[in-house]
Subunit: 290 residues, 2 copies
């Protein structure tokens, strides 16, 4: 039976593009055939895996300009059974797609809020008086473009091709080094079918809550890793949703959780944390080099 | 001349409600008359202050459920001249506003993405098949409700009153303890006209970047404050926007920057940080008790 890969839809999103890279890699390297399953939100893509409606999900977790995708972090914490098998880094180049004859005719620009934010300076410079319309994905508003010659959408060149729509401007993101890290997530702990063959994983992701908010309560967990010379590549706080000022901490570490020094660090961390959840150890690869 | 207070509009947003509390407090306690100036985005509200088109802005910085308002943090870092005069905490109670006769008739629910996210379980339970439409603010889609009896908007009861629209359901936020912290921001360092009379401020907000990403590089800055018994009430990482994996750290501390122990902590921090920006010391007050 074919495997299903859940991702944010409709077709043509950056998440779908990352999923296509992964799907081709699965076929070529593991002999696994997979189908893409678009979902209306990132949370629903991850729920599909937690509820066994899909075997895998490919979801964005961080963009180099706009930061963490909080819906992905919150879902990892809440759904519990999800495990990260791989991370894919993909460059993001936004295009302005429109049936308008020129920029002068454009009155509205629609896209996902992250994409609108990643092009805000370009928009201020070239389209200062248009109305910005946030949407659930970069591709959702593409279907309406043919009926409205004053509308434009920020999406990828690949999406323009897919929907057979003209591109008015390319590379409109404010920072050329724009890239997004995606996670390949499944329900199983470590599944060699879904991963590259490698002696060890380069990264481990986890999250924890602390029992009390006292001076230095966050220093202790960070010290555990610093003293063992384990680099922290990311820390992100998220509200516990209990009360304002209470946080969870999401941490990425540059080590495999099966290494002895990580085992002892995690054992010590669990004595300080109120709740500790480990989302898995995995390798990070450039999506287009898969 | 009247002072201008910039906030996210159109009228009726939670930011406007916080600005109204502050405006009344200014009139009563400081004899300062002020006008409200709605702007289409949070970034533009803060730019208005930086460009001296408004004396003050009231902007959301953190919600207890959905976390940091990253546009506010990024603007504080980028605009440089802005200083925090006060923080206001306001409870948030969302209502479902619609001209539909009952929930069965509703096909779309529009609101700011933060408000949609804060009601996602209620929506899954009572309106599982509606289309969710993100908007720039909770009040922007209200004007269109009278023309579309299948549409609903998540906003405040106060907004429903203001636009004379019926409420279909109240208190629809998933967590009853939902509240948002707003910042009152001006261009001046410490302006007693805009603050409560108090011997010292309870909080200081700052942000810094680090010169190198090595094991323990974040531990040192946190240790400085822990060793001086200064509590960290919040830490939030944001991308530097240079490359994936490089961060700024936004920190809230429970101390006044003029206290001797804070002076020495800040002096030590500045020797470790690449860039350090201090956004001000201020008091945090419940908005409805002003």
């Amino acid at each position: 039976m074919n495997q299903s890969i859940a991702h944010l839809g409709p077709p043509g999103t950056y998440a779908e593009q990352a999923a296509v890279f992964y799907l081709n890699w699965l076929a070529k390297n593991k002999g696994i055939e997979a189908n893409l399953c678009p979902y209306p939100s990132i949370a629903q893509s991850l729920q599909a895996v937690a509820q066994s409606n899909a075997q895998l999900a490919v979801v964005p977790v961080e963009n180099s300009i706009e930061g963490s995708v909080t819906m992905t972090l919150d879902s990892l914490w809440q759904l519990e059974t999800l495990r990260i098998q791989m991370a894919l880094v993909m460059p993001i180049a936004h295009a302005l797609i429109s049936c308008a004859p020129s920029l002068d005719n454009i009155k509205t620009v629609s896209s996902h809020p992250q994409a609108l934010a990643q092009c805000q300076r370009w928009l201020e410079k070239y389209l200062p008086s248009v109305q910005l319309i946030p949407t659930n994905s970069t591709t959702e508003p593409l279907q309406r473009l043919e009926h409205d010659k004053t509308a434009a959408v920020i999406s990828s060149s690949r999406a323009a091709q897919l929907y057979n729509l003209p591109i008015l401007a390319r590379g409109i993101n404010d920072y050329p080094e724009n890239c997004t890290r995606f996670l390949v997530v499944s329900q199983t702990e470590v599944d060699t079918a879904y991963r590259i063959a490698s002696a060890s994983a380069s990264h481990t992701s986890l999250a924890f809550s602390m029992p009390a908010n006292t001076p230095g309560s966050l220093v202790k967990p960070l010290q555990i890793f610093a003293e063992l010379d384990i680099n922290l590549s990311k820390i992100q706080s998220r509200p516990t949703k209990r009360s304002l000022g209470e946080y969870l901490f999401f941490i990425d570490l540059e080590a495999d959780s099966t290494e002895p020094k990580m085992q002892s660090a995690l054992a010590e961390l669990s004595t300080h944390a109120e709740v500790l959840k480990i989302f898995g150890s995995y390798n990070v690869l450039p999506a287009n080099a898969l």
